[in-house]
């Protein structure tokens, strides 16, 4: 790609210049977390060096400066996902907390015994367990959309699962284990046709594809900062204003209140109602800096380049003897899960690590999905825009070498 200068981009990421086990680092664990460009790291240092202060509290100069930076970050996020209002952007720890927030607040208000909640077979544990906990508490039931052998949601089965008892749908936009891109627009439309609200787990989508929450028309959307080149410990819950207004707060504490007496407390307006305690101020500013970095590169350019890596990787991995790629959806993000013959993913991962190649092995927090494929886990290589075809060649060589040793 001519307009996408990977070699120049790589220089923005200090960690990519380091070595592992005496070899240059090949980082293919981007679905777990992404590396940080220097501009994000510098933003964090600058914040703590020049701005650090608590937000929404002080009249003094630094508090004002920190508050402005924090609220400006919210606006950056709003713009990035095209939310209607910045009040619809809630800072949380990450996708997991965002989902737990919804199950605890929306769930406690609207989900009752025998109600049904729909998720899919592809979900990460963080979009399964909070719903199970809610079901245990309320007596509601979890319904799971089946998938086909390519790792795609079977839409007709989803249609069949919807009933008069369905109260909520929560699905991943993109599968973390397989890379499958779900037809979320269709999924949302169908839910809305039955007046059912829907949440998208966007943890694996935000860094790969353009997100426009108004165009998607999802009711809630969650993502983590660290998956999009930002810091850990910061994430976003987007929710439509009327829905967020209608549900009770999540945690109680400072900043989320209007007035407190021992008799009665009134809650603050959006978004503060959901942001009890001192928030991750540095994280939010770091996230905004990461989003700006991604915007400068252009998410469409990123998607195009990553797709070329996916195609190159898939084609070349498939040429290895006994290669089995798990997840062959027609629409895929740059994630390749695979197994070689009957070798255990742990063994392949261990040997690749010796070669300086970072992949993820195991069940990727998707035990039910691994069970569906009847496998002990996979080796997962997930690509980011700073990866190269040369690195994929190193992976291919590594996998060949490892499988020669193991088979």
């Amino acid at each position: 790609m001519n307009n996408f200068d990977v070699e120049k981009i790589r220089l923005d990421f200090p960690i990519l210049q380091t070595g592992i086990n005496g070899k240059p680092l090949v980082y293919f664990d981007n679905a777990a977390t992404t590396q940080k460009p220097k501009v994000v790291i510098d933003t964090l240092v600058k914040y703590y060096s020049e701005t650090n202060s608590n937000v929404h509290r002080g009249v003094h100069f630094l508090s004002e400066k920190a508050t402005n930076a924090y609220e400006a970050s919210r606006k950056t996020v709003q713009k990035f996902i095209n939310a209607k209002k910045s009040e619809e952007i809630i800072f949380v720890r990450g996708t997991t907390e965002a989902i737990n927030l919804i199950t605890n607040t929306y769930g406690s208000k609207y989900i009752k015994e025998n109600d049904e909640i729909i998720i899919s077979t592809l979900e990460h544990h963080s979009n399964i367990v909070p719903w199970q906990m809610l079901c245990e508490k309320t007596g509601a039931k979890l319904k799971v959309i089946p998938i086909n052998s390519k790792g795609e949601i079977i839409f007709e089965q989803y249609e069949k699962l919807i009933s008069t008892k369905t109260r909520f749908v929560s699905v991943a936009y993109i599968s973390n284990s397989l890379g499958t891109i779900n037809p979320v627009k269709k999924i949302i439309e169908l839910a809305h046709a039955h007046n059912i609200p829907i949440m998208l787990d966007g943890a694996q989508a935000i860094q790969h594809t353009k997100i426009d929450v108004q165009d998607l028309d999802c009711d809630f959307f969650a993502f983590s900062g660290h998956k999009i080149y930002g810091p850990t410990g910061i994430g976003i819950l987007y929710g439509k204003e009327n829905l967020l207004d209608s549900i009770p707060p999540y945690q109680g504490g400072g900043d989320m209140i209007k007035n407190v007496t021992f008799e009665k407390t009134t809650y603050n307006d959006l978004p503060y109602k959901f942001e009890a305690g001192t928030p991750n101020i540095a994280g939010s500013i770091g996230l905004a800096s990461a989003l700006n970095y991604v915007s400068d590169l252009g998410i469409e350019n990123i998607a195009k380049y990553e797709h070329s890596l996916l195609e190159y990787g898939t084609q070349n991995l498939n040429e290895i003897d006994n290669m089995k790629i798990i997840g062959n959806a027609n629409e895929k993000a740059s994630v390749i899960s695979f197994l070689v013959g009957n070798t255990h993913p742990y063994d392949i991962g261990t040997l690749l690590d010796q070669l300086g190649i970072a992949v993820r092995t195991g069940v990727h927090c998707t035990e039910p999905l691994m069970k569906f494929f009847n496998i002990p886990g996979t080796v997962r290589a997930s690509f980011a825009f700073y990866n190269t075809k040369d690195e994929i060649d190193i992976l291919i060589k590594g996998v060949k070498r490892a499988s020669r040793m193991l088979l």
């Binding site: 255990h344 993913p345 010796q354 195991g362 002990p376």
Partner: protein, 145 residues
């Protein structure tokens, strides 16, 4: 005379010193894993499973003539090779010797990272189970005497 645990450990360390390349080392461990007899499927029950989320380890412990006999298996071959080394060092030993064993050889052969709890390969819990089994055997024996 029968070798002590430390002597077997030294023997393993010696075997590994010939390997200069990491690859040779791993090839040897893989070989050990392949050669370790598979555990009878009927023993691979949940109560014998010392699981990590990455690879599974099964440990079957028996007590014969005052000694602890271990048999172990894993679904990952590198883990299985390491498991085999532990069985070689600790099986057919007196419980007290097993409890006292420091198992420094794992560090000395450069396989320490496999004992990191993050690896979740079941090895850390396997060592704990081996020692726990030895302790419970010792306690049972002491109570009987």
């Amino acid at each position: 005379m029968e070798k002590t645990i430390e002597e077997i450990e030294d023997e393993i360390v010696d075997e590994f010193t010939v390997f200069e390349e990491w690859m040779d080392k791993y090839e040897y461990i893989i070989e050990l894993g392949k050669n370790l007899p598979a555990m009878d499927e009927k023993y691979k029950t949940d109560n014998r499973k010392v699981s990590g989320c990455q690879s599974q380890v099964w440990l079957n412990t028996n007590f014969e003539n005052g000694k602890v006999i271990y048999e172990a298996d894993s679904d990952a071959i590198i883990t299985k090779g390491l498991v085999g080394l532990l069985v070689r060092v600790l099986s057919n030993r007196k419980p007290q010797d097993i409890i006292n064993a420091k198992l420094d050889f794992i560090n000395k052969i450069g396989m320490k990272e496999h004992l990191s709890p993050n690896r979740a390969n079941g090895l850390v819990s396997m060592i704990k189970h081996m020692k726990d089994d030895a302790s419970s055997f010792l306690n049972k024996n002491n109570n009987q005497n």
